[in-house]
């Protein structure tokens, strides 16, 4: 039995329930990255990108192998990762707490928000001297810089996230449970979660930006210091190795947050792109 559409009607395309894309999405993402690297190699090989300007992927790979086999890279990564991890472990909760204070209470907002808005534009480079005075020259000032870099994006995104929570849901939840703690845990935080995760995503990026500044002011190891050294020696290939590492860290943090999103936000019914 086949319907021959009447004139003026259009037959709809129904694709059925099971519709796994032929090429899985992660494969497409990987393909894009591989293609970019291939393009870079091609342009380098053709001589359009002078080696002095930007080393070719192969050169970079070579430099990376050197750095890895000499143990320099491993050591630097370990140092930096520890600092970033500590900064994140302190900064994310701090940002969340501050955002809760000013998101949940108008009085909290009056008290916390202006100072936060003022502090967040203070450049890392400008406050390092103060940090050295307060925290010395060890790991502490570097961790403190990461802390700052992390705290603000988490704060701002969480604050806006909290204030974006649907008032009707808050009202409904309030009738069933007047405890403010439980309300926060059950309604405000889940409702703000999409934004909180953006904050975390940004924080995972700014943590590295901040650390580079920290590791430049007082150079005692870490990937930022490795890069600074390469800069001083005009070793373009090593600089690019460091940049590639940052890029990979970016990808990694994206993977982490995507994982969190899949885990925590499966309840959403949102626009998923066409």
């Amino acid at each position: 039995m086949t319907a021959i559409p009447e004139p003026g009607l259009r037959e709809l395309y129904l694709r059925g329930e099971r519709h796994a894309p032929r090429v899985p999405r992660w494969a497409r993402r990987v393909a894009v990255i591989v293609a970019l690297i291939a393009l870079w190699q091609l342009v380098s090989a053709l001589g359009w990108l002078p080696e002095d300007t930007l080393s070719s992927p192969l050169q970079v790979a070579g430099a990376a192998v050197d750095l890895i086999s000499s143990g320099d890279l491993g050591e630097a990564m370990a140092t930096s990762l520890t600092r970033v991890a500590t900064g994140l472990a302190l900064g994310i909760p701090a940002g969340l707490l501050l955002a809760l204070t000013s998101g949940l209470f108008r009085a909290g907002e009056d008290l916390v928000d202006s100072p936060m808005q003022m502090l967040r534009t203070l450049p890392f480079l400008g406050i390092t001297p103060l940090f050295i005075l307060w925290f010395g020259v060890g790991d502490t000032p570097k961790i403190a810089l990461v802390f700052l870099g992390v705290c603000f994006p988490v704060y701002i995104n969480t604050f806006v996230g909290i204030r974006n929570v649907d008032a009707k849901l808050v009202e409904a939840a309030r009738t069933f449970d007047r405890g403010r703690c439980r309300l926060t845990r059950s309604v405000i935080i889940p409702g703000a979660l999409p934004n909180i995760l953006v904050g975390v995503r940004l924080a995972l990026g700014t943590a590295w930006l901040a650390l580079v500044v920290g590791e430049q002011i007082n150079a005692d190891g870490g990937i930022g210091y490795l890069m600074l050294n390469a800069q001083n020696n005009l070793e373009t290939d090593k600089i690019v190795v460091c940049l590639v590492i940052y890029a990979l860290l970016g990808l990694l943090s994206d993977l982490i947050v995507r994982g969190l999103e899949r885990l925590l936000l499966s309840w959403r019914q949102n626009f998923a792109g066409a």
């Binding site: 009707k168 849901l169 009202e171 409904a172 939840a173 309030r174 009738t175 069933f176 449970d177 439980r182 059950s186 309604v187 889940p190 409702g191 979660l193 936000l265 499966s266 309840w267 959403r268 019914q269």
Partner: protein, 247 residues
């Protein structure tokens, strides 16, 4: 049916459960409530009717302690439970957890499942709210309001999106719970029959005041086909602006 027969026994409650005196509420220039006076006895079932936009939900929100922007005097019991006009389910909690929201931890899943069973939705207990149909969401919201043990139950058109059969079942459910727990209930509805089947008294909100009042003294369970019922129905519909020529 035993529970429904309970209803026919004389109700002993005489204390007042809801007091609203001279309640005014304006949004900007528009004054929606212009001096509402209302007393609901403990254990009474009140139906609140009125045209669309007349302020029923507004009044309910005030009585539910959700709107402090009104003027006047309102006193209500401590434990209130509300079924809102929209389902207002928390999208990040599975259905049963929405029902269990705010219940003490011990046995909450059992209680939630029992409530879902009563509204005929055990099969969606573990679904996300976004996957529910309109009527299913409304029943989950109803279950959430009924599962707790309130002193005052506020229902804002809780059955509007339900088909005829489900609606009748839900009406029975509400009547049973009300009778069993001797709740005080205020039901906003547009369905005159529903109001007459369930309520002890029906009031009509018009021009910002409770303009009409109709005690419903029919015996329970009530028969919408009865002559008395038809009289009350015509009266109520008349107040709402609809004239029914009895054929």
């Amino acid at each position: 049916m035993t529970e429904v027969r309970e209803l026919t026994e004389p109700r002993t409650a005489t204390r007042t459960a809801v007091i609203a005196e001279d309640v005014h509420r304006a949004f900007g220039d528009r004054e929606i409530l212009r001096g509402v006076d209302l007393r609901v006895r403990q254990g009474e079932f009140l139906a609140l009717l009125g045209a669309s936009g007349s302020g029923k939900s507004t009044l309910l929100r005030i009585v539910g302690a959700l709107d402090h922007g009104a003027r006047g005097k309102v006193a209500v019991p401590a434990r209130t439970s509300v079924a809102f006009q929209e389902p207002r389910l928390l999208p990040w909690r599975r259905v049963w957890r929405n029902v269990a929201f705010g219940l003490p931890a011990a046995g909450r899943r059992q209680r939630a499942l029992a409530a879902l069973d009563e509204v005929g939705l055990t099969h969606v207990a573990d679904a996300w709210p976004k996957t529910l149909s309109g009527g299913e969401a409304q029943r989950v919201a109803l279950a959430r309001a009924l599962v707790r043990d309130p002193q005052l139950l506020l229902l804002d058109e809780p059955l509007a999106s339900l088909d005829a059969l489900t609606r009748l079942k839900m009406q029975q459910l509400i009547a049973q719970l009300w009778a069993r727990h001797r709740l005080t209930a205020i039901l906003v509805t547009h369905d005159v029959d529903e109001a007459l089947v369930l309520a002890d008294r029906a009031v009509v909100l018009r021009d910002g005041r409770l303009a009409e009042e109709l005690p419903v003294t029919l015996d329970r369970p009530r028969d919408p086909g009865s002559e008395q019922f038809a009289v009350l129905r015509a009266r109520l519909l008349g107040w709402l602006g609809v004239t029914v020529p009895r054929s």
